[in-house]
Symmetry: C2
Subunit: 193 residues, 2 copies
């Protein structure tokens, strides 16, 4: 399990808020607890919230035509998670968001988020910045998938999610770096030699 997280500290890393603005923001958040394996969002649903993780760990993944899972993102405390496509378009998405262990999140609804942009324009900046960072990470991942071997991608994973290496089942890591659990096992055995 991860240490608890504080939203305001997280936000203060990018923008400065007045106490009243902080309150306005906090009032929009609704806490929610999730049991291990509980879904925050299922395939085919419209994503109506961004979630900020305060405890536990979630993952966002999809299931392909052959039934294989592919993990797009892990979300330990202090990370945001949502089906960005569905959140923007308000159309049904393909992402499944699931708690990997008992977890707690703060939900910010899309309508509240839009209201927030109007009331506290600084949040426009805040979400621009974290979206930019997320984009950089994703671009690097595209590159990694194009140019690295499986074990190099595993190294990259260890670098990106150092806290998760030992707590996560191997099959989840395999579904993130893009190999089968069988090959992942073989690969790890080979790495030690």
């Amino acid at each position: 399990m991860q240490p608890p997280a504080n939203v305001l500290q997280h936000i203060a890393r990018h923008i400065d808020l007045e106490p009243a603005e902080e309150k306005c923001f906090l009032d929009m958040l609704s806490p929610r607890s999730l049991k291990a394996r509980e879904l925050l969002l299922d395939e085919g649903e419209v994503c109506r919230h961004s979630a900020f993780v305060t405890r536990g760990c979630l993952r966002g993944y999809t299931i392909d035509q052959n039934g294989y899972e592919h993990v797009l993102q892990f979300a330990p405390p202090n990370w945001w998670i949502a089906d960005m496509y569905s959140l923007i378009t308000q159309k049904p998405g393909t992402l499944i968001i699931e708690a990997l262990e008992d977890s707690e999140v703060l939900l910010l609804s899309k309508t509240d988020q839009e209201q927030l942009y109007r009331d506290v324009p600084q949040f426009e900046r805040f979400f621009r910045i974290i979206t930019e960072n997320s984009l950089v990470t994703n671009r690097q991942r595209v590159l990694d998938n194009l140019s690295l071997t499986a074990s190099q991608r595993y190294e990259a994973f260890c670098h990106r999610y150092p806290t998760l290496i030992d707590t996560l089942p191997q099959k989840q890591i395999a579904a993130y770096i893009g190999v089968t659990p069988e090959f992942f096992s073989k690969m790890k055995a080979g790495l030690k030699k």
Copy 2:
């Protein structure tokens, strides 16, 4: 070659500006012409501008340890291109941005962009939105790389860049979908049957 593009029309799709604000923005842009194969940004340089393409076509790519090229993005008219990582951190990046044909771009420097955020806060929103869209696209691409075969990725490419299918050399498309030009050629021959 692509039709010419208009920045203001492009921006008006997401935000409404006063004439004075439009002028403020336009004054920050400096046009630049590029010959085919000319570089807008080389490996190891610090990226100091975002570029909006008005004519021609650019590509952003990297070269891996084995000397293979991997295309992260094509930029036909009306697209922005930059090494986001380097632009944010102002550290040397790995992206190479090259004109694939004679092209024209409008450059917005990082310092001007930051000034713009202060002078016309609406641009904070504008760039948040296009960054969000870009993120959605990139996430889909990660998924495509994890779950699709080469020819399915080619289909996805055709869908994403319909105007480029016939104008681009095959090797560039191969470097985008993540196969060798040799395999791409074999694959295309196979598709017709």
